[in-house]
Subunit: 531 residues, 2 copies
């Protein structure tokens, strides 16, 4: 059991008759301490070791890490106070990146910073970034963008940390969880073949690298670890999430759904794990991710409609005047519209129920979400784009509603295929339904059930994991045993390609209804029928 | 059984249903090929792998190497002709460095270059260099001198090789065998404590490093391997020599004596190995190494004296006019002087036998080796120094002869202690007597026996190994199984400190006589008694 990557050790003083070299004496003690037969000690670390060792009275702190071959020494650090050892855990998202600073000895989180993935300036989505990276210059450009952003924000974390004086030199480890494409780009590895049949990653299990080799400005001997991928569409962020949720250790089958840029699903427990990624279902592609604005102040995240009066009550992040609607707000809105009879079972606006909130423009129905001047909306994009919104009129078009319908149908179909067709379970067999990912965190399960996006299981089974990718990366830094777990997860997962065959299309067609053509699947969904 | 560090492999083409990543497909084939469970694949090698792999039709040459953790991929190379893979084996001597270029596929040596260790410009001997390296600037200065000299001579080797067009990029591996101090200095590792009691090296088993990290200009992904040391006074050059001589595999006890800057001795066979280093005997320190000039054109390397006439016949390297005498020439001379009665059993010149070749200067006896003008020699240093020699008179003083006497006595005493006192054998038990090292290569065993420097065993048991340090380094490049052998040797050797105690001094006193006080030890030595 290894509780930490930092070991404080005392060495026997060298004497005549036992003239074991300095490096070998350290190795012997560390090997015994962590119970390993072999330990890699990088030769350059020996350069100034003899004098250090003697000036520290043969006491040292050893920073350790692992690669696929076993344990390795990362650095030898002065044992006394004032020389803390830090690590950083990173969630490397396509859209957003979050770094968390962690003291590796006290095991405490000491700061967090989030920032947009700067690669979005080249291309917002994964596909376009991979295209951009098809030539070496493009690849290096994308890599440098993200590495620079990491470096700037690592500096920020150091500066902001005021408890102890730390510099980038105090940071010895960086663990990064990202999807396969982001992992390739971060490493400067050609991602071209991720998106071409037969969808072959360049590598699935990257060995940790020297920070210096990547240009990451932490301690010059620091190590950077990237979570392994399972395949092109199932990345390290998911492995990290499973590690955090401990899905591989559950007593009964559970499911974890990560709704981020894609929707990835893992179902299983200690005996088996089955995974699939939503990107394989084209209906979902660019669907859920484009479903709404990113959560930020002024964005509508919750909607309540009084079915009797048709009054729409919106909540915005930070209680600011509404500037748009985010994904979870969209699901809330669709659920409320449907439950109050303003959306029919095909997901179409019902004008007579929507009343004055309904209008048509160029033959397309629109629904005005927020009260206000009812100013003519331009191009119907107020809810879905990042352009300066029309403050007085948050409007949703039938086109956008259709897109949501496809997305929710794809989500349910994927869940049905993996749970029922692949695992041979019923939804009711699931002990837990974990919702991970930034977007997933805000979903109201009740609303998602109401529109038939998530299965109709007891609400208490739903558990929001938050940024499980970041949490898994942090867990690894705080518990070296996680290495074995990651390997266990990686080797234990069966990844299935979600072939879009006739069976899937049949399921998908039924799921495009609200909540579903098979209403027996949603016994708890009660529509408003009064006047 | 792994015959080569270069493996040609063909990969199954990726298909849907088996979307294993490129790196993992290569790893799987290589692991099977070399029969290993784990294989390190450096992440940066993946960067441009996908396109290469496809343009090479999924065929590659994989360059492999090992570290203490196991096998690692060094590089992935185009499989077709015109892209040979080379390595360099190096003997890193205190005085002289030799590099040998080896084609790692055809297993042929393709060139060799020797040059003086440029660190000699800072300090000629090991001790002074270590003192110079006590501060970081001095250490880096010494390291840079040797690294630069390596780079220049690697370029020379490439340029001189005309069979195939090779550049430094074609060189992927460098194996280096040197003594402990030279190994530390090459790696830029503080050697200070090698020479202070209790004589602790900074490291004994350096992990291979990236060539780039050391500044060695071979392929940017190339690996540099340094042979492990046993202790401060028993270095990688000896391990390399044992590997070459295969001492650890012999059926019967053998001895290997490396007479270079120091004299190191290993005795043993497949069951055990015992080693000691002559530097521990102060009588030898600066003794054998200073015994004569370095072998070069004009230096006397063989001497023959007609005991009847007293005529001295000298042979010089390159048959050039004599400019001095080298170590092996000194031993020959001493043997011939002694056998012809011109040197007594205490190693003193016998004036009445030396006749006109004997003269005194400031009360010190001198012997004129070469015929010529018998010009008055200045300061008696013509034979032992590198100063411009007096062409007409190669002269040896009694002081120099006394130094030789001490050296030969130390050599014999060390051999007696290790064979008789430590191993409990008799000299006659030795199946082979291997003489290694530059200086040792030129010794005439018969002469060395005559003066009591080497034991009186049958001449056919002596075998000159040549530059065994270089040969061992080359052997490693041509046979990866050598890794296990090196580890076997390293872990199997018992290193003994040659304490200069009363017993040693008693033995030493007897050995200072010619050939020895105990004449029964040298039955074959027959002095000239006729007139």
């Amino acid at each position: 059991m290894n509780q930490s990557f930092v070991k404080y050790i005392e060495l026997p003083e060298p004497i005549l008759g036992n003239n074991t070299a300095d490096v070998e004496r350290i190795k012997a003690v560390v090997k015994k301490e962590i119970g390993t037969e072999s330990l890699f000690f990088p030769t350059p670390l020996a350069a100034d070791l003899p004098k250090k060792l003697r000036s520290w009275n043969h006491r040292v702190k050893v920073v350790l890490f692992r690669d696929s071959m076993g344990w390795r020494v990362v650095d030898i650090v002065e044992p006394d106070k004032g020389r803390p050892v830090f690590g950083i855990a990173a969630d490397l998202g396509t859209t957003r990146i979050v770094l968390r600073l962690i003291n590796l000895e006290s095991m405490t989180a000491c700061g967090e910073v989030g920032f947009d993935n700067p690669q979005a300036s080249i291309a917002p989505d994964v596909l376009a970034r991979i295209h951009h990276a098809r030539n070496e210059e493009g690849l290096i450009e994308l890599q440098q963008l993200v590495i620079s952003a990491f470096n700037q924000n690592i500096d920020l974390l150091c500066t902001a940390h005021t408890v102890e004086k730390i510099t980038s030199q105090s940071i010895h480890l960086l663990t990064v969880a990202g999807n396969s494409a982001m992992t390739h780009l971060f490493l400067g590895v050609d991602p071209s073949f991720l998106i071409r049949e037969p969808y072959i990653p360049a590598l699935n299990v990257p060995e940790p690298l020297d920070a210096g080799e990547l240009g990451i400005k932490i301690n010059r001997r620091g190590m950077v670890y990237l979570f392994p991928n399972i395949g092109s569409y199932f990345g390290g962020d998911l492995i990290s999430g499973i590690l955090f949720a401990q899905l591989h250790r559950k007593e009964n089958p559970c499911i974890m759904v990560d709704v981020g840029t894609n929707a990835e699903v893992v179902v299983g427990y200690r005996d088996w794990l089955i995974a699939c990624a939503g990107a394989a279902g084209p209906a979902l592609e660019g669907g859920i991710s484009d479903m709404g604005m990113t959560a930020k102040p002024g964005v509508i995240d919750r909607v309540k409609i009084d079915p009797a009066t048709g009054a729409v009550e919106v909540h915005t992040i930070g209680d600011r005047p509404p500037i748009g609607i985010c994904g979870s707000g969209m699901i809330d809105l669709a659920a409320q519209l449907f439950l109050s009879g303003m959306l029919d079972i095909r997901g179409k606006f019902v004008p007579e129920r929507c009343k004055e909130r309904y209008f048509e423009k160029e033959g397309v129905g629109h629904f005005s979400v927020s009260e206000g001047g009812l100013k003519e909306p331009d191009s119907g994009s107020a809810s879905g784009s990042n352009s300066e919104p029309d403050m007085g009129a948050i409007v949703l078009s039938q086109v956008e509603m259709n897109s949501l319908t496809s997305s929710k149908a794809a989500m349910y179909s994927i869940l049905q295929v993996i749970i029922e067709k692949t695992a041979g379970l019923k939804f009711s067999d699931l002990a837990k339904f974990y919702v991970a990912g930034t977007f997933g965190s805000f979903i109201n399960p009740e609303s998602a059930i109401s529109i038939g996006m998530l299965p109709d299981i007891p609400l208490e089974k739903f558990e929001v994991l938050g940024n499980s990718s970041l949490e898994g990366a942090a867990k690894l830094l705080m518990n070296p045993d996680s290495f074995e777990e990651i390997e266990e997860i990686r080797q234990g997962i069966t990844y299935i390609e979600l072939n879009v065959n006739q069976e899937f299309m049949n399921i998908f067609s039924g799921a495009k209804f609200y909540p579903h053509t098979d209403i027996s699947r949603f016994p708890s969904v009660k529509l408003y029928h009064g006047q």
